[in-house]
Amino acid sequence: MKGLQKHLGLVALLAMMAALYAIFVLAPVELTMGVVQKIFYFHVSSAWVGFLAIYLVCFCSLRFLRNRDRQWDIRAAAAAEVGAVFLTLNLVSGPIWAKPVWGIWWTWDARLTTTFVLWLIYMGYLMLRRLVDSPEQRARLSAVVSIFGAVNALVVYMANRWWRTQHPQPVIAGGEDSGLHPDMLLALLVTVLAFTLLFFCLWKMGCDLERTRDSVESLRRTAQRHLREVR
């Protein structure tokens, strides 16, 4: 387990370096937007990880409700924490790109709103976990909430699409005139891969951290018991 994590970190590091090379050296500078377009690779990749994570949280929660294994609760919690970080990156990188290109930091457009709402769902989930004292109850309640969150992420997206959209249309598998320069596409794919690997690496570390907390807690309890006996 330990070895695997070490290698995952190394692989993620290599992929991240390849991504940086692809973004800043290989991919051409965009004609109209200029250098600021480079944010796009990080922005899309962190959004992908943020949305992937909520479904992983939901999946782990369903597994937890099915077999009541604490390990699945730990996995769900760690995925939510890391996913929230990536989604925050996405929400921060978006406005930095939007200000020079759109002229505004933020607009209440379909995708922006969906992401923002998903971020709030993450925050609600993480806050709930802090505010329930019993670990067993915390696991159950947050699992239920995560199922709602995952379903709702889809519904919010659809609701917003019917409402209004200003975000750039999908550049991959979009309309006829859309499409990316092959080198840009390559850079994007490498970055998405690197971010995904980084996510899995951080996820594993988060799980290990939680398990360590568990064992520290049980050690402390044993120590206190022994102490009481000695006295």
Partner: protein, 226 residues
């Protein structure tokens, strides 16, 4: 059949409690009036602005008042230690959910009807020609709101700060309802009324209601179990 009579028993219990204490309705109504009062002084709206912001303001009032009311539905049970009694009673837990959800739905609809009348009087907002459709929209919107809210109230009642936890969990989850119901209401009260737009959003509301009535019924047992 038994399921429905059990649900009705839970519903009657909540209605009776409310009839005797009048806690929920009074607090929702007073709170709703306060929001309207603040709105008046914050914006000093003329009749044009009321047309424009009325639907949004109405639903903001309904939602804040509703959050206040729904928080009580499980908080009162945990405070009085009666939730265990309910759980031990020989009823399916999903009928506890459904009974409480229907009670919340009734309280909300009643409070909304009164707030809507007061709003119409205080701001000279013409609702009567379109009141039938308004009732339908309000029912669809409030159903989705009450079904998610009742489940999350049960979740929040188990936390240390339930009165904060409920809005934090709930508002992002009912955002599609808020969006659809405000747009449907605006289309209904537009001059002239825009019926195709209204029906479009009412269909979306109905679809949301179907998903979010079934999902709590499936997951409620996990919330209650101890």
């Amino acid at each position: 059949m038994k399921f429905w009579s059990q649900t009705a028993a839970i519903l009657m219990k909540d209605l009776l409690t409310e009839y005797r204490t009048k806690d929920v309705l009074t607090s929702m109504l007073l709170f709703g009036l306060l929001v309207i009062l603040m709105f008046n002084f914050a914006f000093e709206p003329d009749s044009e602005e009321i047309r424009k912001f009325g639907p949004g303001l109405l639903w903001m009032t309904f939602i804040f008042a509703g959050l206040l009311g729904m928080n009580r539905s499980f908080a009162a049970e945990t405070e009085n230690d009666t939730l265990e009694g309910l759980m031990l009673s020989p009823v399916k837990w999903s009928s506890i959910y459904l009974g409480k959800m229907l009670a919340n739905l009734l309280f909300l609809l009643l409070a909304q009807a009164i707030i809507l009348c007061l709003f119409s009087i205080l701001f000279n907002y013409g609702i009567w020609p379109r009141i039938g459709w308004m009732a339908a929209i309000t029912f669809l919107g409030t159903l989705g709101f009450a079904s998610v809210g009742t489940l999350l109230a049960a979740v929040a009642a188990n936390t240390r700060m339930s009165e904060v936890m409920l809005p934090v969990l709930m508002v992002p989850l009912v955002l599609p309802v808020i969006l659809s119901v405000v747009l449907a209401t605006a289309a209904n009260f537009a001059q002239p009324p825009e019926e195709p737009v209204m029906f479009f959003w009412m269909q979306r509301l109905a679809a949301y209601d179907i998903i979010f009535v079934i999902l709590p019924l499936m997951t409620f047992d996990y919330v209650l179990e101890k």
